[in-house]
Amino acid sequence: MSDAMTATETGGSPSSLYLDRIRTMRHVRNGKERVIEAILFVAAFCAVAVTVAIVAILLYEASTFFAHVSLVEFLTGTEWTPLFERASYGMLPLLVGTVVTSFIAFVVAGPLGFLIAMYLSEFAPPKLAEVLKPFLELLAGVPTIVYGYFALLFVTPLLQKIIPGLPGFNMLSAGLVMGLMIVPYVASVAEDAMRAVPMALREGSYAMGATRFQTAMWVVLPASFSGVMAAFVLGISRAVGETMIVAIAAGQQPNFTFDPREPAATITAYIVQVAMGDLPHGSIGYQSIFAVGLVLVVITLVFNLIGQMLRRRIREVY
């Protein structure tokens, strides 16, 4: 903009009747833009500031916890018993609970979300896709507590018919339902990535005599690969942070096991449990939720960063 201004000024083109007006308006215009810029900057700054503040508070609160418990014990210990007389704070049981439930969720949501995305983007007639997509979004809008009770009261009894002796609380049921919950999310991010593939590429493939399926697998998929990976990673990150479903359906008992049939608490489930008042404020046990919270934030942050990076990659290719 300022380039154009200088050009008119130095060129001194007499042809424009508006020249004087444009010149007098210049500072008004610049002033306006500065105000808008400032507002936008504050908005962006707030978002960053909140994130930083959350991490800072977590760090601060966690530091009082780590004054009593060593980092090594925290990260490598296999017993999490903050309520016991002789409490131990090894977070691996919680971490494993989170990993197992998230893994089960991913096993459901990855393939299913991918197939739905592929169908909607490459195979479904446009009209049908328009009808189906709102349903997916509806599914994504269901409060997670509903999913939690769905897992506990419907899926678990169903699983108990297949797996005799399955406890009422178990990671399998929670993970499966959590998978269902993130399917729409994975599908929609992956579908965006596939739709971003230029039509010219598909046409190139069809013009070689390829079928719809060949085009989808050999051209659209590699072209949207990083976007699909982003969908997976962001989906996993959601599963890791999900709270209600696991708190309700997987139980709240820390349990160091990789067996999905067992009940176990996840990091998030533990945080709700403590936050709801099982431990007195200010106690080490209470402070522990900030320590595990920090771990949770770091995990999801890493996943989100990877996801966003992958997502950006597709934008750059085209």
Binding site: E203, S205, Y206, A207, G209
Partner: protein, 264 residues
């Protein structure tokens, strides 16, 4: 318009021919009673102002319009020597696309390696034997005058090539499928003059083996590389003739106005 005359202008055997061909994008009647003969192993150029239907006609030859709903062909495009009407619903568009390749306006290499790009048409046909693929890929790349430049980097991603190289890669991709006709839609409009010259040279070589139908906005290009030229206007084929005649002695006023740049 004297319909029967167009085919008699051609002295070579015909590779294809549209007869009373109409095309509709939904309600938009984009091509009207087009009678275009396509001489075997010759270059036929389609020229005309923007929006006159050149791409629409070209893309009818490989049934590209089947990909989108609401499109409708009417009339015939006969493909010789088997004399089938290739736009008939009874004819499999995939078979047609395997026989008639296409090179697009903007180079559109696949997000794959150079090798896989060229081998694509063969892989689509189910060819998996490495030796066959290698042989065909080399032959096609040589045919597209790209072999020397890429022979040591066949496993590089095709995106890393320059625009002109990418377009030659797309030509190699088309050639590797052993097509009977190659359709070119303004293949040089995104390229610089040097890359353009090399593509034009290539077309002159390819036509020894393959029939070529090319859309171009560049009249000099049409004059340089084509044997026959069709001038289109508002969805109609206004004039068809030998290129050396059409550009020197156009029979229609509209054609003359267009080629002398006095249009509209």
């Amino acid at each position: 318009m004297s319909e029967q005359n167009n085919a008699t202008i051609v002295s070579e055997p015909l590779k294809a021919e549209t007869r009373k061909f109409n095309f509709y994008y939904g309600d938009n009647h984009a091509l009207k009673n087009v009678d275009l003969p396509v001489a075997e192993r010759m270059v036929t150029a389609l020229i005309g102002p923007s929006g006159c239907g050149k791409s629409t006609l070209l893309r009818s030859f490989n049934r590209m319009h089947d990909l989108y709903p609401g499109n409708r062909y009417e009339g015939e495009i006969r493909l010789y020597p088997d004399d089938v009407n290739l736009v008939s619903p009874a004819v499999d568009p995939i078979e047609i696309r395997m026989r008639i390749s296409m090179v697009f306006q903007k180079p559109n290499p696949f997000p794959k390696t150079i090798f896989e790009n060229v081998a694509y048409g063969l892989m689509v046909r189910g060819e998996k034997r490495r030796s066959v693929l290698e042989e065909k890929v080399e032959e096609a790349l040589r045919g597209a005058a790209l072999w020397e430049e890429v022979k040591d980097r066949l496993d590089d991603l095709a995106f890393n090539l320059s625009g002109g190289q990418q377009q030659r890669l797309c030509i190699a991709r088309a050639l590797a499928a052993d097509p009977e006709i190659i359709l070119f839609d303004e293949p040089t409009s995104a390229l610089d003059p040097i890359a353009t010259a090399s593509i034009e040279e290539l077309i002159a070589e390819i036509k020894e083996k393959v029939t070529i139908l090319i859309v171009t906005h560049n009249m000099q290009q049409a004059a340089r590389i084509s044997d026959y030229t069709a001038f289109m206007y508002l969805g109609e084929l206004v004039e068809f003739g030998r290129t050396d005649e059409l550009f020197v002695r156009p029979r229609k006023k509209q054609t003359e106005d267009y080629i002398t740049g006095r249009f509209g």
